[in-house]
């Protein structure tokens, strides 16, 4: 299983490295979403700090975690779609079935490649959020753990649902429709945990981190168990 996963992940990352879709399309799209959110919420708009009647902070700064994760989710749809678009043409999916690779290995390989791409994307979007929204950082360990856990969940669930729709003509439009509701808990948990990591207290973030971890484990397990059947029926 691990050998097959490495093989598939290396192939997908090599295809990505050559085609540059991440750097020329996915990352610019994510940055564009961040900038547009910035246009939608005036930088001058202020609100009272929680529990404070006099001190005010910028609304944009307060909602930065949610906007960051929304930009990640929308960009992830492109990366996940791309991951299966390269298999859906020219008989590649049939060739994967014929190869006799362990389906769990294929799932882990494809999810692993998406994970690497999304983590790179998040580094850029994180920097963009810092520049555009000016959010502080209270607990770096919590932030990194939240980002990794949430991204494992997004990559796992995304790979699973993309496989579900892989053989369908309407897959490009169906995957976002299936995936966004499924990832709503990740958006909620990751936004609140990131908020705790940025503004504190960190103790508010740990329960959400546990939920994100559970989501990631659930979809990793589901993918390992179900990917064979999905690949067979796609």
């Amino acid at each position: 299983m691990w050998r097959d996963a490495r093989l598939i992940a290396a192939k997908d990352l090599r295809v990505e490295w050559v085609s540059r879709v991440l750097t020329t399309q996915v990352v610019p799209f994510g940055l564009l979403v961040l900038i547009l959110f910035g246009f939608g919420i005036s930088p001058d708009l202020q609100t009272f700090e929680p529990g404070e009647a006099t001190s005010k902070v910028a609304v944009l700064e307060q909602v930065a975690p949610g906007l960051f994760w929304l930009a990640v989710l929308f960009s992830a749809l492109l990366a996940i779609g791309r991951s299966f678009a390269i298999e859906a043409v020219d008989g590649n999916l049939d060739a994967l079935r014929l190869a006799g690779l362990d389906p769990a290995g294929i799932f882990l390989g494809k999810a692993g490649a998406v994970l690497v791409e999304l983590l790179l994307l998040e580094v850029v979007l994180g920097f963009g959020s810092f520049v555009l929204y000016g959010a502080p950082l209270d607990n770096a360990v919590l932030l990194v753990t939240v980002v990794v856990s949430a991204t494992v969940g997004i990559a796992s669930a995304g790979t699973l649902y993309a496989a579900l729709a892989a053989g369908l003509r309407v897959r490009d439009t169906l995957v976002p429709l299936l995936l966004l509701p499924v990832l709503a808990p990740v958006l909620l948990g990751a936004s609140l945990a990131t908020e705790a990591a940025l503004f504190g207290p960190a103790s508010d973030g740990w329960p959400w981190l546990a939920a994100l971890g559970a989501f990631a484990v659930l979809y990793l397990g589901a993918g390992i168990l179900a990917f064979g059947s999905l690949l067979e029926d796609s």
Partner: protein, 217 residues
């Protein structure tokens, strides 16, 4: 694993659906080891579905179907037979962004083949020189087919399933395909070829069967 004399393919009243359409509507076929069987028939007759069924890629709705001793009417049988067959279908199953060599090396590793044979296969197929570092998206149809065939050679299947193998190839390429199939059969493989190029394919085949309306005549 079947004994040497057991049929490689044995279909009896096999039905396979494409959606709701019976692409195979009760096909009977026996292919013995070492044969090169040419499937002839009009477009939509069921030739490609027959090849996909033999590859373990198409489900069997009714009837019986055994390929290399595996019951391909079952999901487990279909999965098991795939390791032993090679299918050159309508798609070349190559990644456009990767080079010729990267594609052949990836699929050879995925198929559990030996990477030591890749260089020889590329040379044999005439894509071992400057073409090996060219992206597949920049290849001609014939060069793509040669690359797909190099993958097949490295895979070393026991049952070769070839769907229009001569299409898009020049004369030298066609001769090469025939030579490779002949060599594989000499080494113990079996081949089923679907082709509209009857003059060319008939010379390769040891037997010709007609496929019409989802039936094998």
């Amino acid at each position: 694993m079947p004994a040497v004399s057991d049929p490689v393919v044995l279909l009896s009243q096999a039905v396979s659906l494409l959606g709701r359409f019976p692409a195979l509507a009760g096909a009977d076929l026996r292919v013995d080891p070492g044969e090169v069987v040419l499937l002839q028939g009009p477009n939509g007759a069921g030739k490609s579905t027959l090849l996909r069924l033999c590859a373990g890629l198409a489900a069997v709705q009714s009837g019986t179907a055994e390929v290399m001793g595996f019951d391909v009417a079952t999901r487990a049988g279909r999965r098991s037979v795939r390791r032993h067959v090679g299918l050159l279908g309508h798609g070349s199953a190559l990644y456009d962004d990767l080079t010729v060599e990267q594609n052949v090396r990836f699929w050879t590793a995925a198929n559990g083949g030996e990477s030591a044979g890749v260089d020889a296969a590329l040379e044999r197929l005439g894509i071992g020189g400057r073409l090996r570092t060219v992206s597949v998206r920049n290849l001609s149809a014939g060069q793509r087919k040669r690359t797909a065939m190099a993958v097949m050679v490295c895979r070393r299947p026991r049952l070769w399933l070839l769907d229009e193998p001569h299409a898009g190839l020049d004369q030298a390429g066609r001769d090469l395909i025939d030579a490779l199939v002949g060599q594989a059969v000499d080494q113990g493989a079996t081949a089923i070829v679907a082709s509209h190029e009857l003059d060319r394919a008939a010379g390769l085949a040891t037997r010709v069967v007609q496929v019409v309306g989802g039936h094998v005549a």
